[in-house]
Amino acid sequence: MILHKLTLSNFRQFRGFHEIEFARGNTGNVTVIFGANGRGKTGIYRALLFCLYGEKRLSQDAQVDDHELYLVNYPEMEAHRGDKKPVESRVYLEFAHGGRTYQMERSILGMLDGGEVIQEDKGGRLVTRDEEGNSTATRDPDEIAEIIGGILDRGLKEYFLFDGEKIERLTRASSEQRREVSLGVRKLLDINTLESAIQATDRLRRYLDSELETRATGELARVIKQLREIDERSIELEARLEAIDDELLHAGQEKKHVDNELDKIREIRDFLLERTSLEKREQDLEAQVDDLLQDMKNRTGKTALLLVSKTAEKVFRDIDKRKQRHEIPSEIRRDLIDRLISEGQCICGTSIKPGTDEYRNIMLWRNRTTDILTEDSMLNLWRYLSGVRSHYEDNGVATESLLQKYAVVKNELQVIYRKLEVLREKIGSSERADAAKLDKHRQQIERKIIKLEEEQAQSQEELLILQDERSRWQEQRKEIEKEQGIRDEMSKRAALAEATTNALKEIHEEFTGETRDLIGVNATKYFRELLDHESQKTLRDIVVNTDYSIQVYDRWHKPFLANISAGQRQIMSIAFIAALAQAAAGAEVLEMPLFMDTPFGRLSHEHRRNLLEKVPGWCTQWILLATDTEFGRFEARILRGTGKWTQFYLLKGTGAGSTEIKVVDVAQADGLLKDEEEGK
């Protein structure tokens, strides 16, 4: 694809009609479109993608609602607000590919209804003119998509038409992006044609085998049956792997969608996280409160003992004193004294008569004694009360500690309740509360992805085992056929189909392996040419993996991708694209433009210099959409030195959000550029 001309009518900030002729051919292939921020550089990138693929959104629009994203020039719609006529926004692109020229045009109508912008697609029209000058035109969206996709696959467009600051993302591609890229690369390299041939011969082989199975007998029948079962299981697994790929792709897209939705409410995500954490703490504390209340239930009786502690102490001391005075237990039991009094004689034989000193003494003794039951009771009570009083202090301390703990926990709970109240006010409406649901949904998707990836790995492993098994059974089959001298037509055809499939598979493996190696070697070559002096000391080889993801190795041959800067990633991606283009074009340079928005934003001066010096020679067409901070006199001087820079456009603001595109002579460019010297 070589871009010839792009025209814009009332597209985005380009009010009225504007035209850009792209530099192309041997005399010059570099076009610079220069403008300050907000002047519409990305608008041109957007126009290109809209015209080719009908895409209205760029990756950077993820957080912009559809109704806020309008392609029709706003001032023009404002001017027609009164007459209620829609404004037509049109993008026209003329390009050449494979000896044919293409004229692609897409338009969209827009008008203001109150404060709202209403837009309506008018579809597209593609005119193809072949080398003989014969033209065909189509408005069929599917046909247009097929033709454009055949020239530059949608999955690969970001390799050639890209935002310079985001191209480094190619080095961070997710599995589904890699799959999309892998499909695109295979299409670009025409590998998918070979894959279709393998599938066809394999189908034929299976058909012939199934026919043979109906006729075979004995051991051969058993072996063919085994092979058929392996084939069936393999097909089943391959289909499942394909389905897993699709499911992973959808899950990835869904996750991205949820992430976009979550990004819109990112400001409350922190609140939600805080709320979740507070609610968890709230639950913990409430459980603690319940436990403490349970402890309190067990403690009420013991604490109540304290209410009568003085009484218990008084009784205890009374008994204790009696004990100390030896009143209890009595030295002589009261029943013995009573018997001596009634008998009127002491044990020693002394007479105890009323009125005598002996009688008075023994009566005093009797009064000090207690009856045996009461005495036993007192002694038991003394024992119990001594136990009770020894626990008073412990009971008091335990109760106080329990009440204090409770107060601390309740205080913290009160603080949490207040915080939660504030947070809930901040989180507000139910619409916002949906973020929690989205978060949950995202977790479910992530779990699904993990599960699918596990299943994918298992299926791939099983497939490899089946392939081994198949080889063994196939060997056995050959031996049996040889022993039995089976060489009928059907067997020969089946064997031929098998051999053809295997040969094609080998070719495929060899070709893709060689292609990957070639891309890796060329990418490394370009990478080294583009890298600054310092980075060259560390970074060495680019390797293309089987899924067309890329890795860079350091001087010690260790993977180093995770450690390189965004600028180095950008350089690496560009080197990969150049190598990919070269591989796709064979010996020649691939006819594909490099359309770079904000090409040097993240690059050092040395990287810029290398890029400006080398890229014009590697590609057929280079279109740069640059701002004054990245394209100054230094860059212009380098680019002019290549002799390939022939077109220069200035995006100039005309007020009220409109921009005009002015063509400027390359020789006059310095007058518009800043004097930014190397090394600054």
Binding site: K297, S377, V388
Partner: protein
Amino acid sequence: MNMAGDIRVRTARQHRTLYNDFRNFVVKDMHEIFFLCACLGYREGKRRPLGRDGDDRFWSSTITPEEYASFYAMVIESSDMDFSAIADDRIVIATMEEYANAGMQILLRGVIADYILDHGDELRLDPGCSKELPKVLLSHVYEMAGE
């Protein structure tokens, strides 16, 4: 003084449900709230005979030795340190029933007044707000004990 376990301890008929509620929400067992009420009544020097208004609430076997010992101490002190007053456990329990009955009245008019639902003949704890009652009661008892 045998710490007899075969005595049916009585409380006011009107407090039947209340005792059950206390067991559910505030204490572990009925004897504990009975003990608490008896202590409160005793501290305040108030007795309230049950007369015909009482019915059996729980067996004395559930009363702990510590509680029984405290009951004996109360009876002894209230009878001018006459230790023979505790000879008969039935009399001791009967005395405590009167103190407990008065003690419950003290609770009802004081600290738990806001937690009571009055259904005419029957009083009960308001289940809607009784969760915190163990703490309320424990704090109250602890404060009183310190006075």
